[in-house]
């Protein structure tokens, strides 16, 4: 998964002024400071993307037994068609949708509950729980996946054997359980991180409003649902946005788990499909097309989420 950049919008304080860049020398100084960033950005980001787009319109065609040189030819959108017609790619998208349907409510709901609890908790306990909740996120994704693979593996895992001795036979790695199992890893990894974002937003809720609510007779639960929740909606929508994009990038966890079980196929999610196309099937052109499709999906989804959340914010 890509690292998520925390970006928190608290509620706007009345009377805060917009800062305008100073005219004159300011522009030049800004340019001076921004140039290194844009230079690296162009070389490491823009150029590869353009190259990927170009690649996606060509194909390497072999002939006969394939031992003679391959011909590269312009094929237009054929690579895109092949990707979209591929059962495994479309299946991967479906799997991803199912993953989102389980993951997002669990993770965002969990994070919200934790954050509200933390906000309501006694100040001393707050620091400790904040740390405990955030701790899993400090574990790198690859390591987390390895740890969970161990915890899921029958015959090795203390959890599985404990469940077995309690009369519950469950194989976390089989064909049906594997999706919830991977969702569980992601929830474990990301809930704490999002708790911090939501908690920070909660801290910015003006105390006088909460006090007013209390005076009016609202209990903790009522003020959490009717006061705090609406006020942190912007932060919540930022979380949704990053989560949706992060989900599309799903790769690390399933590819690590695939070493432990055959249930995770090599084309399990779209990103793995692209990897498989590039490095197993040696079809870079198709891999490029698949990557562009994934990126477009991310763009459309991001747009939809921001659009939807900005509307609900206004409402």
């Amino acid at each position: 998964m890509v690292t998520q950049v925390p970006s928190v919008r608290g509620t706007k304080r009345p009377g805060s002024r917009k800062q305008r860049p100073m005219s004159g020398t300011g522009g030049r100084t800004a340019a001076l400071f921004l140039t290194p960033f844009f230079a690296v950005f162009a070389v490491a980001m823009v150029a590869p993307v353009i190259y990927a787009v170009v690649l996606s319109f060509f194909a390497q065609q072999k002939s006969g037994l394939g031992f003679s040189e391959a011909k590269t030819s312009f094929v237009g959108l054929e690579n895109y068609l092949q990707v979209l017609q591929s059962e495994s790619f479309v299946g991967g998208i479906g799997r991803l949708a199912l993953y989102c349907a389980i993951y997002i409510p669990c993770m965002v709901g969990g994070a919200l509950a934790f954050a509200l609890l933390l906000d309501a908790a006694v100040a001393r306990a707050r620091k400790l729980f904040q740390l405990l909740v955030f701790l899993p996120h400090a574990v790198p994704g690859v390591i987390a996946a390895l740890i969970w693979a161990y915890l899921y593996t029958p015959g090795v895992s203390p959890i599985v054997s404990a469940l077995e001795s309690g009369g519950v036979a469950v194989n976390f790695l089989d064909h049906q359980m594997i999706l919830p199992s991977i969702v569980n890893i992601a929830v474990w990894e990301w809930t704490g991180y999002n708790v911090i974002i939501l908690f920070t937003a909660l801290q910015a809720v003006p105390r006088e409003i909460l006090e007013a609510a209390r005076v009016d007779g609202a209990g903790e639960i009522r003020s959490a649902l009717s006061i705090k929740l609406p006020l942190i909606l912007p932060a919540l929508s930022v979380i949704m946005l990053f989560t949706v994009i992060g989900t599309l990038q799903l790769f690390t966890e399933p590819s690590i788990i695939s070493k432990a079980t055959a249930s995770v196929t090599s084309t399990w999610v779209p990103n793995m499909w692209a990897y498989d196309a590039a490095f197993n099937r040696h079809n870079l052109n198709q891999a490029a097309a698949a990557s562009i499709i994934i990126a477009l999906m991310a763009a459309v989804l991001s747009w939809a989420v921001t659009r939807f959340s900005s509307r609900t914010n206004k409402a």
Partner: protein, 437 residues
């Protein structure tokens, strides 16, 4: 808001595109020059085989014309081939690479290897090999690699468990099934072996042993027969073993597999000569010394075997010094010094005649309850001839592995080989190759 959306969209676009970058620039086209008398220069060598660093050092010490720089790379299952293929395409691959037989035609077909004809001393290398091994490295009448090991498929058993169940070492697959049933009777939790859904090459070897031909050529077309009659026989047989729980479906080399070998939940390993160290490592701590024996793989009536694994050395397209690289390959595959230098790294069985005794004396086989090399030799003499690997093993490998994903929840081996056949034919056709089913 607008700008942020745009930026986010772009960022995710980058992240996806970053996956496939770095594999771009066109392959460095170097045509193979004629062999010169005494090649000199430096040669880079990539391998994931243990002890190859020592072999490179020994080669450097033995002469002063060619200097070999060794680099350890991940093995194929961990992305070693992706790295190699990408590096060759980008023009900065090694001079000498290590490639297993199933993957070799794919590298040849992608134009990533140089033919060795004219670079190597044919009489001292190729001409001494058996036809079965030669067939693995020659394509379109050219030689693209020199074989290092020739790995016969071997069945490993826990002797004590067989004795407890009152069965001898199974000679045929029928006896194997009966032995499994008897073991179940005395130890209900035990499995005679495991069926490894992650090892498509093992399914290939079992089918090869049964007389299947997954790949072949007919004039200018590939013939693909991954679900041919012999393979179907093998698939149905293993399905029967899975259904009776005589074998356990599990990934080989996984934690689960290791734990089951140590605990005795699995008492046999269908592997090859190279399985010895892996078995020893996983079972030594649980006091199984002297209990493991090697045996010829059960057969379908008359003794026969197939190769399971094994690597070859080759000169990549990106090599600027193919003559020196070829010289080093000759040393790797034919010199007893190279085998000696590698030390006690595993129970190697080599393609070049005369080298295996050297490997045998370097390997400490005292952990095992019988003369494993005697078994290897017997198995090697019964390899079924006529097998050929196809032009893109990874398609087949992936398709079969993926189809095996449902085995633990009621999927069938027979359906998996059908799926692999379809995926392979479709995949090859998509690459523009001519395919006949």
């Amino acid at each position: 808001m607008k700008r942020r959306q745009l930026l986010l969209g772009t960022v995710s676009l980058m992240a996806s595109a970053a996956l496939i970058t770095g594999c771009g620039s066109s392959p460095a086209a170097t045509s193979a020059p004629a062999p010169t008398g005494d090649p000199t220069g430096t040669v880079t060598f990539w391998s994931s085989l243990a002890g190859m660093d020592k072999v490179a050092a020994a080669f450097n010490a033995s002469q002063d014309k060619i200097k070999v720089t060794f680099e350890t790379v991940p093995n194929g299952a961990s992305g070693g081939y992706a790295k190699l293929s990408t590096a060759i395409t980008a023009g900065n691959g090694p001079d000498v690479a290590t490639i297993e037989y199933p993957q070799l035609p794919q590298f040849v077909s992608n134009g990533q290897l140089q033919p060795l004809d004219g670079l190597i001393d044919k009489a001292a290398t190729l001409d001494k090999l058996s036809d079965e091994t030669k067939a693995l490295v020659q394509f379109d009448e050219k030689t693209y690699a020199l074989p290092y090991d020739a790995a016969p498929m071997i069945m490993w058993y826990r002797k004590d468990v067989l004795e407890k169940a009152g069965v001898g070492v199974p000679k045929t697959w029928e006896e194997f099934e009966a032995a499994g049933q008897k073991i179940k009777a005395v130890a209900p939790e035990a499995h005679l072996a495991s069926f490894n859904p992650n090892e498509a090459a093992l399914t290939a070897a079992l089918s090869w042993q049964a007389g299947a031909k997954w790949f072949g050529t007919d004039a200018d077309s590939w013939k693909v027969g991954i679900n041919d009659q012999s393979t179907q026989k093998v698939a149905d047989y293993w399905q029967k073993l899975i259904d009776q729980k005589i074998v356990k479906v599990q990934q080989s080399f996984s934690d689960e597999w290791s734990a089951d070998l140590a605990s005795g939940a699995v008492v046999g390993v269908l592997g090859a000569n190279w399985s010895a160290t892996g078995i020893q490592k996983r079972t030594e701590a649980s006091g199984q010394k002297g209990q493991w024996i090697a045996a010829e793989v059960p057969n379908w009536g008359s003794p026969s075997d197939a190769f399971y694994g094994g690597s070859s050395f080759n000169v990549t397209k990106s090599s600027k010094n193919p003559a020196a690289a070829a010289k080093f390959i000759e040393y790797l595959t034919t010199s007893p010094d190279a085998i000696k230098a590698r030390g006690n790294t595993g129970s190697a069985f080599l393609a070049s005649p005369g080298l295996t005794p050297v490997a045998q004396s370097a390997f400490d086989a005292s952990y095992f309850g019988n003369d494993i090399y005697e078994v290897f030799n017997k198995a090697y003499s019964t390899i079924t001839p006529g097998w050929q690997w196809g032009p893109n093993w990874d398609i087949t490998n992936t398709a079969l592995k993926d189809a095996y994903g449902t085995l633990s929840t009621g999927g069938k081996v027979r359906d998996a080989v059908d799926a692999a056949q379809k995926a392979t034919v479709d995949g090859l056709k998509q690459n523009g190759l001519s395919v006949k089913e």
